[in-house]
C-alpha cells in the first residue's frame, strides 16, 4: 500500500500539521470553556450569599447593604421597568426604521442611513450616559415638571436608543431575505405596497424580527454605564407606570456602583456576584431562545426550498 506521504502529496511534516490542528481545535472549544468558567466563578462567589443572607432577606424589597438589607427585588424591578420602557421605544422605532430602510427608502437613502444607524451601535455607552445627564435629563425635568430628570424614563429612552441599532440591523436583514417573488405575487394580486408589507413581507420575516427584538432587549437588560448615569440610582421597588417618572436603580448599575467599594469576600461582595449570576442567567435565556428561533426558521426555510 502506498501512503500519501510516500508519493509526495503531503510535503509538510505531519507533526507540524498535527500541532496546528490541535491548536485550532482548542481555540474552537475556547468559547465553551469561557462560558463555563464565567458561570462557575459567578456560582462559587455567589453561593455564600445564599448562606450568609438568607432567602427572606434577599427577596425583601429593601436594598440597604450598610445595614445588611440585601433585598434584590427593587433592583430586579428597576431593570424590569426600564427594559419595558426601552422595548416600547425600540420595538416601534427599530422595526419601523427597518421596514422603511428595507421596503420604502430609495437605494441611495438606504445606503446613507444604514451606516448612520450603525454609528449609534458603536457609540460608547458612557458617551450616551454623558449626553443623557447633560441634555436629556434636564429637559425631561422641565417638560414633565419632575423633581429630577434622572429617572426610569431617561434610562428607558437611552436604552431604547441603544437597542435600536440591533433591532434595525437584524430586522432589516430578515426583511431583505424575504424573496422578491413574495412581494411581486402580492402586488400582482392588486395589493398596495402597504398591504404587502403588513400582510406578506413582515409575516414572512416574522421570526427574524422577533429575534432582533429579543436581542435588542437583551442588550438593554445588560447595559450598565448609561443607566447608572441617568436613572438616579434610588433602589425603590417600582409598583406602577407612575414610577417611570421617578429614579430607579437597575441590577447592572448596582454592581457597577458598589463593587468598587466593598471588601473582597464580604457578604456584600457575594450578594453582588449573586446579582451577576441572575443577569447571566437572564441573558442566557434571552439569547438561547432568540437563537432557537433563528435555527427553527433556517430549518423551515430548508424545508420550503427542498
Amino acid at each position: 500500500m502506498i501512503s500519501k506521504q510516500k508519493i509526495g502529496i503531503n510535503p509538510k511534516p505531519p507533526k507540524r500539521e498535527f500541532l496546528i490542528t490541535a491548536l485550532i481545535k482548542a481555540a474552537g472549544y475556547s468559547a465553551i470553556i469561557f462560558v463555563g468558567m464565567i458561570f462557575l466563578f459567578l456560582l462559587v462567589e455567589s453561593l455564600p450569599a445564599l448562606r450568609e443572607v438568607g432567602l427572606s432577606n434577599l427577596l425583601s424589597s429593601r436594598w440597604y447593604p450598610i445595614e445588611d438589607h440585601y433585598g434584590v427585588l427593587p433592583l430586579i424591578g428597576g431593570t424590569l421597568i426600564i427594559t419595558i420602557g426601552a422595548t416600547m421605544i425600540a420595538l416601534p422605532f427599530g422595526v419601523g426604521t427597518a421596514i422603511y430602510l428595507s421596503e420604502i427608502a430609495p437605494r441611495w437613502l438606504r445606503e446613507t442611513l444604514k451606516p448612520i444607524v450603525e454609528i449609534l451601535g458603536g457609540l460608547p455607552s458612557v458617551v450616551l450616559g454623558f449626553m443623557g445627564m447633560l441634555i436629556l435629563s434636564p429637559y425631561l425635568r422641565i417638560w414633565l415638571d419632575l423633581p429630577t430628570g434622572l429617572s426610569a424614563l431617561a434610562g428607558s429612552i437611552l436604552l431604547g436608543g441603544i437597542a435600536i441599532p440591533t433591532v434595525v440591523s437584524i430586522s432589516e436583514d430578515a426583511l431583505d431575505a424575504v424573496p422578491r417573488s413574495y412581494r411581486d405575487a402580492s402586488l400582482a394580486m392588486g395589493a398596495t405596497e402597504w398591504q404587502t408589507i403588513w400582510r406578506v413581507t413582515l409575516p414572512a420575516a416574522r421570526s427574524g424580527v422577533l429575534t432582533a427584538v429579543m436581542l435588542g432587549i437583551g442588550r438593554a437588560i445588560g447595559e450598565t454605564m448609561t443607566v447608572m448615569m441617568v436613572t438616579g440610582n434610588a433602589p425603590i421597588l417600582p409598583t406602577g407606570i407612575k414610577d417611570l417618572f421617578s429614579p430607579v436603580r437597575t441590577m447592572t448599575a448596582t454592581i457597577a456602583a458598589e463593587m468598587g467599594e466593598v471588601a473582597n469576600s464580604s457578604t456584600h461582595y457575594h450578594v453582588l456576584f449573586l446579582i451577576g449570576i441572575i443577569l447571566f442567567l437572564i441573558s442566557l435565556v434571552v439569547n438561547v431562545t432568540a437563537s432557537a428561533v433563528v435555527f427553527r426558521q433556517k430549518k423551515s426555510q430548508e424545508r420550503i426550498l427542498s
Binding site: A31, E45, Y100, F130, W194, I255, M259
Partner: protein, 286 residues
C-alpha cells in the same frame, strides 16, 4: 383632472409618511449627539489637552494618561483576542463537524455575546485580579476585554471565511496542498479584509467599554504613564465617567473634550473597518 385616491391608497400614504417620520426621529438624534459633541468638544482640543497630564484635580491640563491607557488596553485585547478568535473561527468554518459539540460551541458563542459587560467585569475581578493575582492591571483588563470581544471576532471572521468559495479549497487540495496549507495560503488571504473588519469592530467595542474595566484596571486618577502590563491605568471611557459624575465643579469644556476624543477614537476605528469592507467588496472577483 385630479386623481381620486382610494381609501387604501390614503392609508398607504399615511403609513409611509409615518415610517419615514419614525426613521428620521431615529436618525436625527444620533447625528445630533455626534455633531453636538464635536461642536462643544472641539474648543477644548489643543496640544496640551492631548499630550499633557491632568492638573488641579483633573480640572485643568490634559488627558494623555487616559488616551495612552485606552491605547494599551485596546492593544492588549488585540494580542489575546485576535489569535484566539481567528483560530476559533477557522475551526468552526474549516474543521468542525456538524454535530452536537459544534452546536454547543455556537450556543456558547451566542451566550458570550449576550453576557452583560458588567458581568464580564465581575468575572475579570474574580479570576484575573483576585484568583490569578494580577491585581488591577492592564493585563487583567485586557484579558477581561478579550473574552468580551471574542464572539464579535469569531462570528465576523467565520462569515468571512465561509464567503470564500469552496472551489478555491478544492483546487488547492487537489494540487497537493495540505489542509493547513490551503487555509493559510488560500482561504485566509482571501478572507483577510472581512477578518480585519471584524477584528476592528470588536476592538472598537473593547475601546469604548467602561463596565468591564471598572474593577479590573481603571485608575480614578494616575498622573503618570503605566510602565508595565501589571500597572493600573486611566482609560478614556472611565475617565469620562469619572469627570462627569464624580468630580464636582468640572469644567464642561473638558468633559466635552474628553467625550470628543473618545468618540474620535471609536468612530475612526469604525470608519477604517467600513472602508476596508467596502474596498474589498468593490475589488472582489468572485
Amino acid at each position: 383632472m385630479t386623481m381620486k385616491l382610494s381609501a387604501r391608497q390614503y392609508k398607504q400614504r399615511l403609513g409611509f409618511s409615518l415610517l419615514t417620520l419614525m426613521t428620521f426621529l431615529t436618525i436625527i438624534p444620533i447625528m445630533g449627539v455626534v455633531i453636538y459633541i464635536i461642536y462643544l468638544g472641539l474648543p477644548a482640543i489643543n496640544l496640551e489637552f492631548l499630550t499633557g497630564f491632568p492638573r488641579e484635580g483633573m480640572r485643568e491640563g490634559g488627558i494623555l494618561p487616559a488616551i495612552i491607557g485606552t491605547f494599551y488596553l485596546t492593544l492588549g485585547t488585540a494580542i489575546f483576542a485576535v489569535p484566539l478568535g481567528i483560530g476559533s473561527a477557522i475551526y468552526l468554518s474549516e474543521y468542525a463537524p456538524d454535530n452536537k459539540a459544534t452546536q454547543l460551541i455556537r450556543i456558547a458563542i451566542i451566550n458570550l455575546a449576550g453576557i452583560p459587560s458588567v458581568v464580564y467585569g465581575l468575572f475579570g475581578l474574580g479570576l484575573f485580579v483576585l484568583f490569578l493575582g494580577f491585581g488591577t492591571s492592564i493585563l487583567a483588563g485586557s484579558l477581561t476585554l478579550s473574552i468580551m470581544t471574542l464572539p464579535v471576532i469569531i462570528s465576523t471572521t467565520e462569515e468571512a471565511l465561509r464567503a470564500v468559495p469552496q472551489s478555491f479549497r478544492t483546487v488547492s487540495m487537489s494540487l497537493g496542498a495540505t489542509k493547513w496549507q490551503t487555509i493559510r495560503r488560500i482561504v485566509l488571504p482571501q478572507a483577510l479584509p472581512g477578518i480585519l473588519t471584524g477584528v476592528i469592530l470588536g476592538l472598537e467595542r473593547a475601546a469604548g467599554e467602561t463596565a468591564p474595566i471598572l474593577f479590573t484596571v481603571a485608575a480614578f486618577f494616575l498622573p503618570r504613564l503605566p510602565n508595565s502590563p501589571l500597572d493600573a491605568t486611566m482609560a478614556l471611557p472611565y475617565h469620562l465617567y469619572v469627570i462627569s459624575t464624580q468630580v464636582p465643579g468640572m469644567p464642561i469644556k473638558i468633559q466635552y473634550g474628553t467625550a470628543l476624543v473618545l468618540l474620535a477614537f471609536v468612530l475612526s476605528m469604525n470608519l477604517v473597518a467600513t472602508a476596508i469592507r467596502s474596498r474589498a467588496r468593490a475589488r472582489r472577483q468572485w
